[in-house]
């Protein structure tokens, strides 16, 4: 018997702007002990299906069809009946670990509460049980941690707590909705291991929602692919990933970029530029390689297609003139007292004229902070920062503004980077308004149009508001803004994170071309090793606020000197079930050795 049986499920959301049909006639099954991966483009209805299976759809949703969990009908069931089912027969792990826990209740109590919801245990017994569960999900010192508040845990630990709650009553069905998107590559691997172990040990059926093909390859028995509210393809993981039949699945898989790794140079890389919406901003883990043009390139990128901006690698100090950006022993601390975060700790780095420096490292390692320090946006606790040879800390008022007028900036979050109350044209024109006050309006319009053209955005977009653009378009608008003044330095923090692979390619080419033309220096922040591999001449690897290693891109990424860099590269999963399983096995042995 199936533990989860979804038959012809449809869900419609009522919203201010009208009805949104999110899911239309989906049928799925999960058998005990089996893992079904639900993949598909962003917004295709994966989470909605998962929530419907738990009876947790928000108030504005109307569901029809049949959903049975362990023989109990969910659609239309009463709240009391559902409460009896949830947390016992079926459990769920949510995407966002930061907000999934009650901030004011100690984690031990929250777990114990789930236990006591279904089992007649005393408080003390439930508390002991909670500690056991914490131990089971691998929280160190569970006795002590049980009395921690959620905010005192790291993201990965919080996610473990949520998992502990989910498995507290050994459910027959576990639904995990993108359980690792918010987490680091390395933490992601651990969490997935944990889930896998649980499923294997207790015969729990798992419905795993994810967009990460590497994870699917690694973890799932069967795969269901969703597109705009429909399941377009279902099958075993090998079938679907290696021999996709549906055109969308094929496109999806082709768009997944791969990092060129030493010793794996022969692995074919497929990429097409026409995937709509695959480049969701919240996909920091997937390693995406730039796709050269229209999906026929099969050779390792770095070897055959030289990066557009590539020059003789400037690994020596004698390259042109004094550094444009110069950080010396910079330390940055956020907060005070024991809760303080050492975001940067003795960081030194230089960007020379015309050179592109890639800044990489795991999430939270201080990449963005370093970039902001260079821009004078974050005060330093110690160390010195200079721009174009001038100490930024000393410059004030007019002089400072003049200095900064030579800088173009693209910050990390494309949504937050543009003022939603301005039109695209106004956004792009802003640097002109601040530094070229006398410029006639007509000329300004012309310059704005030029800049938009540079980033391949149609002129008509100029009158729209940022809200009316896609994430990728937004990111290009902020790039246009950064370029409109023809900068001497471009600081770009994840400038392509929201772009789908083909647009990413185009944008990077644009930057490279302009760099050739204008000769500006570039500090390029990315967690995407593949992009950096192609784009930067030098790379700086950061870890926990320190520079772990730096050097010419090719040598550093192909022959990393530190274990950390190696792990960073290794943790990038490959969307091939066979290869991925082999790699993991190798990793295990390597780690235990």
């Amino acid at each position: 018997m199936n533990i989860l049986d979804i038959e012809d499920l449809s869900v419609v959301f009522t919203t201010d702007t009208g009805d949104v049909p999110a899911v239309g006639g989906v049928s799925l099954r999960v058998r005990p002990g089996e893992t079904l991966a639900l993949v598909g483009e962003s917004g295709s209805g994966k989470s909605t299906v998962a929530l419907a299976a738990m009876g947790l759809l928000p108030g504005n949703a109307r569901a029809s069809g049949r959903v049975t969990v362990d023989g109990t009908e969910i659609v239309g069931a009463g709240e009391a009946e559902l409460a009896g089912l949830r947390g016992r027969t079926a459990s769920m792990v949510f995407q966002e670990p930061a907000s999934a826990l009650d901030p004011l209740t100690r984690i031990g109590r929250q777990i114990a509460e789930v236990v006591r919801n279904h089992r007649p245990l005393s408080r003390a017994e439930a508390a002991r049980e909670a500690v056991e569960l914490l131990r089971k999900v691998g929280i160190p010192e569970p006795e002590r941690r049980a009395s921690a508040f959620p905010f005192q845990l790291s993201g990965g630990q919080r996610q473990r707590v949520v998992i502990a709650m989910a498995i507290a009553n050994s459910p027959s069905l576990l639904i995990a909705d993108e359980p690792t998107t918010a987490l680091d590559v390395t933490v992601q691997a651990e969490i997935l291991d944990l889930l896998r172990g649980l499923a294997a040990d207790s015969g729990t059926g798992v419905l795993l929602v994810t967009h990460n093909m590497g994870v699917v390859a690694d973890f799932a028995d069967r795969v269901a692919v969703m597109l705009r509210g429909d399941v377009v393809e279902t099958g075993s993981v090998e079938e679907v990933l290696l021999r996709p039949t549906h055109e969308y699945t094929r496109r999806l898989l082709a768009a997944v970029p791969r990092l060129k790794v030493d010793g794996e140079g022969g692995v074919p890389v497929g990429a097409t530029g026409s995937v709509t919406g695959a480049g969701e901003a919240s996909a920091p883990v997937a390693a995406e390689a730039p796709a050269p043009g229209d999906g026929q390139a099969t050779a390792p990128v770095a070897a055959e297609a030289p990066a557009p901006g590539e020059k003789p690698v400037a690994d020596d100090e004698e390259a042109a003139g004094p550094p444009v950006v110069h950080l010396r022993d910079v330390a940055v601390r956020f907060g005070r007292g024991p809760g303080a975060v050492r975001a940067l700790d003795g960081v030194s780095l230089d960007v020379r004229p015309g050179e592109t420096v890639g800044l990489v490292g795991e999430s939270g390692s201080g990449k963005s902070t370093a970039a902001r320090v260079a821009l004078g946006l974050v005060p330093t606790n110690s160390g010195s920062v200079s721009l174009f040879g001038t100490d930024l800390g000393r410059a004030r008022g007019r002089a400072r503004r003049a200095l900064l007028s030579g800088v173009g900036v693209v910050l990390q979050d494309p949504v937050a980077s543009l003022d939603a109350r301005m039109s695209v044209a106004e956004c792009v024109a802003e640097p002109l308004r601040t530094h070229r006050r006398g410029m006639p309006a007509a000329e300004r319009r012309e310059r704005v149009a030029e800049a938009l053209e540079l980033v391949r955005l149609p002129r008509e977009l100029a009158r729209r508001g940022p809200r009316e653009l896609s994430g990728g378009q937004r990111q290009r608008v902020s790039l246009a803004r950064a370029l409109v003044l023809r900068p001497r330095l471009l600081v770009a923090d994840e400038p392509t994170s929201a772009l789908d692979v083909s647009v990413q390619r185009t944008v990077l080419e644009v930057i490279a071309e302009l760099q050739d033309e204008l000769g500006f220096a570039c500090l390029f922040v990315s967690h995407d090793l593949a992009v950096v591999q192609e784009f930067a001449q030098r790379v700086v690897v950061m870890r926990a606020g320190r520079v772990e290693e730096q050097g010419p891109t090719m040598s550093t990424l192909l022959h990393p000197e530190t274990e950390y860099t190696r792990r960073l590269i290794a943790a990038v999963p490959v969307p091939d079930p066979v290869a991925q399983r082999r790699r993991r096995a190798a990793d295990r042995t390597g780690a235990t050795a």
């Binding site: 917004g43 003022d419 809200r467 653009l469 902020s478």
Partner: protein, 293 residues
């Protein structure tokens, strides 16, 4: 989100406002509130054209008449027509309420924006001033200031504006604190933009929903405050009056059965203040900002 936008890029630039408008229109209380405010504005400002009465001269031969006949709502203790007086007093109440509510919002907004944006010791000092302002009973300031200057309508607007800008300033400061670290402001700063531009072009426009909502509640409070101030005898000077003044003057007749001196101004105050609160409530939902319940 992004994916949805990919496929359904909205063409209308005002969609955000349309949406808010629609949400507002769905809030029945808010729409009723709006209707009440409009009706009262018409009543007070257009009403006198249709129902003209002498509110400048007293008529000691026509005092305390019950409603009916020539005086639809009767007359007061010095012979003013009560219905006409309700319009006349309403003008002051609404005008002072609206203007001082707006003045408070403007002052509060600028103060809060500057403090929040500047941060550091400037913020600390400015906020301590706000704290002190909150800690000094507004009544004290009202008493003292009205002892120095004679509060006409204009004076009252200024005084009330000056005692009630504190709450909006705190709200706007909080908003500014988050906005000033938005990437678009950071980008502006990192590329040498001026602080004035950051505040005027980015921070204030983006706090507009907070400000509008605060302003609505502020107006409601101001109308109530006008009434309170008049009760304490610090309101507009006789023979000019406002609803609060009418009400508190009428209260002395509470036991004399002259309900027409109490009920109309009392109801007018309650209705209008309710209406502004309901509007604020609707706007808050429509703009989706936090603020008073």
């Amino acid at each position: 989100m992004t994916a949805v936008l990919h496929t359904t890029v909205v063409a209308e630039p005002v969609a955000g406002y349309r949406l808010s408008l629609r949400r507002f229109a769905r809030n029945k209380l808010a729409v009723a509130g709006l209707a009440v405010v409009v009706l009262f504005l018409l009543f007070c400002f257009v009403g006198p054209l249709l129902y003209s009465t002498d509110q400048t001269h007293t008529d000691l031969t026509q005092v305390n008449l019950a409603p009916g006949g020539a005086h639809l709502l009767g007359t007061d203790a010095v012979g003013h027509d009560e219905l006409g007086r309700l319009m006349y007093g309403g003008k002051i109440s609404l005008l002072v309420g609206l203007a001082s509510g707006l003045l408070a919002t403007v002052i509060g907004t600028l103060w809060g924006a500057v403090a929040g944006y500047a941060g550091g010791w400037v913020d600390a000092v400015m906020m301590r001033v706000v704290d002190a302002g909150i800690a000094i009973p507004a009544l004290f300031i009202l008493l003292v200031v009205s002892a120095i200057t004679s509060p006409g309508a204009l004076g009252l607007i200024v005084i009330l504006g000056l005692v009630s800008w504190l709450v909006p300033s705190r709200l706007v400061r909080a908003e500014t604190l988050t906005l000033k670290n938005r990437d678009y402001v950071l980008t502006l700063r990192a590329t040498g933009g001026t602080h004035g531009r950051a505040i005027l072009r980015h921070i204030l426009p983006n706090s507009v929903s907070t400000i509008v909502v605060a302003a609505t509640f502020q107006v409601a409070d101001a109308i109530l405050l006008v009434a309170y101030v008049s009760y304490l005898g610090l309101g507009v000077q006789p023979p000019s009056t406002d609803w609060g003044g009418m009400l508190s003057a009428g209260l002395t007749a509470a036991y004399s059965g002259r309900w027409w001196l109490i009920v109309p101004p009392g109801l007018a105050i309650i209705l209008v203040v309710c209406a502004f609160n309901a509007i604020g409530d609707g706007l808050r939902d429509a703009f989706d900002v936090r603020g008073r319940g």
